[in-house]
């Protein structure tokens, strides 16, 4: 059993860009395991706090199905309703779109959803681990190409500290709280610090090693888009040829 380097103090120091915090985790005897634990715990704790906020917001809001019914019952007061209600097909189609809209829009406009928030307790740690492994592997490869000296485990270990800005999501225990893009920018800065610490590189090389994985993502999305577009075109033309 190795030494435990992780502590709340270390996590907070990494969040506030203290170099020593990154160096300390890099020099741990098993930075990968410490990193994995941290990424999972951050995902789970923030999802739990967020669930509290969602439950409070839900308890202060009337039921969505009651609101949906109230809107539907109010339609007959509108002038256009009398024209449409005479046409059974149009009315049926309108009802279908109305039901579909109520499945999509409440979530888009931030309506409280405790069920999704509860699912996030599993989902957020899972997504965080995947993102950590994929980005970490790419960043490690680029760092090595650019002369970085860190081991794979060290890169992943220090990169786990770049998930500390995700703790801001924990402020979601306040109902209707939104973090915005600040979390992503902060995480990017922490990623740079982590890669620089693990690879012990110059700032310029560390910047490249931080950004190049995103270039790979971009290329991948473009390729997926092009291949998907071509596949769709081929499928449509095959259907037309039939």
């Amino acid at each position: 059993m190795g030494n435990r380097t992780l502590s709340l103090g270390l996590v907070l120091r990494a969040l506030f860009l203290d170099n020593d915090a990154y160096d300390q985790l890099r020099d741990d005897d098993n930075p990968f395991m410490e990193g994995l634990f941290l990424v999972v715990i951050i995902g789970a704790i923030t999802a739990l706090l967020n669930l509290i906020g969602q439950l409070l917001a839900w308890a202060g809001t009337p039921s969505m199905s009651a609101i949906k019914d109230a809107v539907w019952q109010a339609f007959p007061t509108m002038q256009w309703w009398s024209q449409m209600s005479g046409n059974a097909t149009a009315l049926e189609q309108f009802k279908q779109y109305y039901d579909m809209g109520w499945q999509i829009f409440p979530a888009l406009f931030g309506a409280p959803d405790p069920a999704s928030a509860a699912a996030n307790i599993v989902l957020w740690p899972l997504v965080a681990v995947l993102s950590w492994l994929i980005y970490g592997t790419l960043a490690h490869l680029f760092a090595r190409m650019l002369g970085g000296a860190g081991q794979y485990g060290q890169t992943l270990g220090t990169l786990s500290l770049s998930f500390t800005p995700l703790l801001l999501r924990g402020l979601g225990f306040l109902p209707y709280f939104t973090v915005g893009a600040v979390m992503n920018t902060w995480q990017l800065i922490c990623r740079y610090k982590a890669i620089r610490s693990a690879g012990q590189m110059s700032w310029g090389r560390a910047v490249w090693a931080t950004l190049l994985p995103f270039l790979v993502y971009l290329v991948l999305w473009v390729v997926i888009g092009v291949v998907g577009g071509l596949g769709l075109t081929a499928a449509i033309s095959a259907m037309q040829g039939r």
Binding site: A59, G60, T61, F177, I189
Partner: protein, 263 residues
Amino acid sequence: MSEWIRTLWNGALFRGPAFSGLNERRGAFLQGLLIVLVIGLLVGLPGLIGDVVAGLRPTAIEAEMEQAMAEIDQAVQQMQPFLGNVPSGELEAIIAQIKENMRFGFDIAQKVEAMPTILPKPMDRVFQAIGEWASQPFAGSGFPLGAAVLGTWLGYGIWVMLFAKLLGGRGTLAGFFGATALYAVPHTLSFFAFVPVLGGILGFLAYFWGLAIYVKGTSVSHQLSIERALLAVLLPALVALLVAVVGATGLATLIAISMSGAS
């Protein structure tokens, strides 16, 4: 606390030790974060109080509807000189339609308001006001460094940091973010944003004052001359503008070529 306020005051007056003190502090980034966060929350206080008071009024929706109707009438009156060619009958029909749609929305809002909830009724509006107020400092700003918010402090800051490094700067990330956070101090003037005319003037003043402090913070943290620091601060915006202009020109050219080809 008094030392902290003295640092903010000295920063607002461009006194060097305030910047170098923050730059060299061990927890420089945390200090900077607290400055932007506290000022961002302070500036949002009048809005929070207004929202909570409005939410606690029992006739909030009726008042909102009356205000919205009055605003429509006022807007139509103001637009009257530009609507000379529109026949008055048509204009009245359009306005009546808009008002009917709005009344429909407000009727539903009243019904929703009357629906039962698990927590006592005004809690949701109070929660919403508090949540929106607490979220404000984490947002971005429409214009670089245009408000005391973390989005622009970090988002624009990383680009300034990069250009400052390219121009020979020797600052650290934490020190740079600590020293430049003082740009938020003049934005306390935005506390009066709700005052007509004066609020706008103070906001304008706060922006340029904050920008000048930001340049000073960049200069101190990177040990750059003021001219180089100014360049590092302006270059990200200029490069973004250039990219936007080139992109728009390219797009316009493509559209023009495709249209001429089609005809």
